[in-house]
């Protein structure tokens, strides 16, 4: 399905945008996990074309790259492991002991360790990725999923979908230091670049809670209203905040929209139409483009961040779930 048509973008305009977007910037590589395709789709940002499809373990969901971009980490949820791919060859070169049912993870700022949410097992597993060794298992609520890390790497946040909490974990002691109750089914946790605020989406609650990190209080609850879209279809999942802290993008699931939020006023400025059941988001490192995974329409939408427009959709594999972009 072509979302370009829906977004009213002509081929000429697209070319112009791409030129602008790629302009001085380099080409990045985008990796999309296909939950039912058991594969990773690889997209080149200079052409926005899929350049490869790599085989991985079963039910791939969370995905991230190593800091140098040479390795790609993929949660193979149904194989209870994390596959590590060589991004040059696209081959799985090793697997990490992740504990059962890894869903999402986040890499420490210096590249090690990896913090993994074990969805089926109510725990967070901390893995030394060089030694392939489990450093700690932290008990959290039921169905842990979202993983956020403070910019200094000192505070890890996990959200548990059925317990409805954001668990704050000290990355030195691996102890839970606090729990903040949010709305139903929290899916994603994202710190602002200054580390002062944590944004947590609640898929079934239909809201995004903004938590003051120092006091660990919910200071703002953002809700969404889209004309002609049923409130129950508005299910916030993925959140990304720009490095300058000005704008937040929130994927709204079966509402098939990405909300653009002014982080000063917490007002939703725009709802961008994307593919169906949009869940996860990832910026290119230059923050010019934002990629979205659209599970039901089996494609990714590409958003021009500056213009606030959807510029392209690219078909990927079956049930795209997660997305990561190479650092270079």
């Amino acid at each position: 399905m072509s979302r370009c048509v829906k977004a009213g973008v002509s081929v000429a305009a697209l070319a112009a945008v791409l030129l602008a977007a790629s302009g001085s910037a380099e080409a990045y590589t985008v990796y999309v996990t296909n939950e039912k395709g058991n594969s990773v789709s690889v997209i080149d940002t200079s052409t926005l074309a899929v350049t490869g499809t790599w085989k991985v373990g079963r039910r791939p969901r969370g995905v991230t790259t190593s800091k140098d971009g040479k390795e790609l980490f993929v949660c193979a949820s149904d194989d209870d492991r994390i596959d590590v791919l060589d991004t040059a060859s696209g081959k799985v070169v090793r697997s990490l002991r992740s504990g059962p049912d890894p869903e999402q993870f986040i890499l420490a700022p210096d590249g090690n360790p990896l913090y993994v949410a074990n969805e089926d097992d109510s725990q967070v597993t901390v893995i030394d990725i060089e030694k392939n060794k489990i450093l700690a298992e932290v008990p959290v609520g039921v169905e842990p999923e979202g993983m956020g890390l403070s910019p200094d790497g000192k505070v890890l946040v996990n959200t548990s979908e059925t317990t409805n909490m954001a668990h704050f974990i000290d990355t030195k002691t691996f102890q839970v230091i606090d729990n903040v109750l949010v709305d139903a089914r929290p899916r994603f946790a994202e710190f602002t670049t200054d580390g002062k605020f944590l944004w947590v989406s609640a898929e079934v609650g239909g809201t995004v809670s903004v938590i003051d990190v120092a006091s660990r209080r919910v200071v703002k609850k953002i809700s969404f209203k889209i004309p002609s879209v049923n409130d129950e279809a508005i299910q916030p999942v993925g959140i990304r905040i720009t490095k300058d802290g000005a704008k937040a993008f929130v994927a709204l699931g079966p509402a098939n929209r990405v909300a653009v939020i002014n982080t000063k006023t917490y007002e939703v400025e725009k709802y961008l139409p994307v593919g169906q059941r949009v869940w996860q988001l990832a910026f290119t490192p230059d923050q010019k483009l934002l990629f979205t995974t659209n599970g039901t329409s089996n494609d990714v939408s590409v958003i021009d961040v500056e213009a606030g427009k959807v510029v392209k959709s690219s078909p990927v594999g079956l049930l795209p779930w997660g997305v990561a972009v190479s650092p270079q």
Binding site: G141, Q175, N179
Partner: protein
Amino acid sequence: MRVPSRSLLAVLALSLAGPLGPGPARAQEPGAPPPPQTIETRIGILYRPQPAPASYDAEAVPEDEGVAGARMGIQDNNTTGRFTKQTYALDEVVLAEGGPSAVEAAKGLVGKGVKYLVLALPAAEVLAVSDAVKADGALVFNAAAPDDSLRGAECRQNVFHVVPSRAMQTDALAHFLTFMRWRKLFLIVGPNEGDRLYAEAWKNSARKFALKIQAEKPWTFGPLARARGDTPTRAEAMVFTRGIDYDMAIVADEAGDWGDYVPYKTVDPRPVGGTQGLIATTWHPTLETWGAAQAQNRFRRLAGRLMRPLDYQAWAAIRTVGDAVTAKKTNDAALIGPFLTDPAFSLPAYKGVSLTYRPWDHQLRQPLIVVQPKAVVSVSPEAGYLHQRTPLDTLGIDLPETACKFR
């Protein structure tokens, strides 16, 4: 679930359970004083296990049907409770022939201080138990009885219905038939009272969704679905479907005695639905969206079998108590009961939307899945059905029609 407002938190500060959320306590700082006391909540479940099948049965009802779901609910509540200083325990009461009655068993539990009862029992016992424990202030969760009377003329203030009513079940299938434009129905009704009530619900659904019941016939051929596979096809059971102009046969066979016999045996090639064939239900092993896959896995690890609708309903009852106690920070049933119909309460339960209890009859609003034995076919309410409150209220008895006056 919503976080209570700051003022409410202040009011409840005495019962605040420690390091939770936006509350003032920060008990886990190093050297902090010990956390406040734990809230312990006991929940009883009363059920009557199905007798073991007489001979080999490919899909025998497991003995722990329902109670296994309740155990998972308790486990989930306790995982959450670790962070909120709450614990939950399940009192399982198996009703056996010659043993105490449901009322006696329920009174026994309430006498021990249990204020929440989950019943996997028929309507008459649900009613008897709820009346018997009313004076004790106990809340009853009906996990198994679909009778609309329990949500209508016989509704009770202290009863909450997790299991969908027959009206919700037939409305959910009617949504799908309307969507498919299969408007002409042939209703086949079994000999039991439940079958008659189920057929009655279909007649209401047909009126509501402009479907036409072309013919209604009683099933008089006995429990043929329980007959052995090498039993010859009974010719008269096929012939009685002859000469009727219909799109779909609807079987009303709540006991599962003969409904599964009908598919592929109608004279005209027609799909079969109702209590067998294409059914509307709360849960199915093939449901995996909205996080259901995690619940399926968790259940299978716990119980060593697939999760069934009654397991899901018992789980949802226990989670209702857990989520409400977490939100209110008390397990006082006198406060929890009214809170369940408060707009601030909702239960996430793997259905894509939060579930709520209807204030007018205490029925849990929920999407129902329309399934055939091996696959989810659709989800009701179908897209496009509108309602001034929520599309979920297009399923079952709505506020203007309710006969419920709480006692």
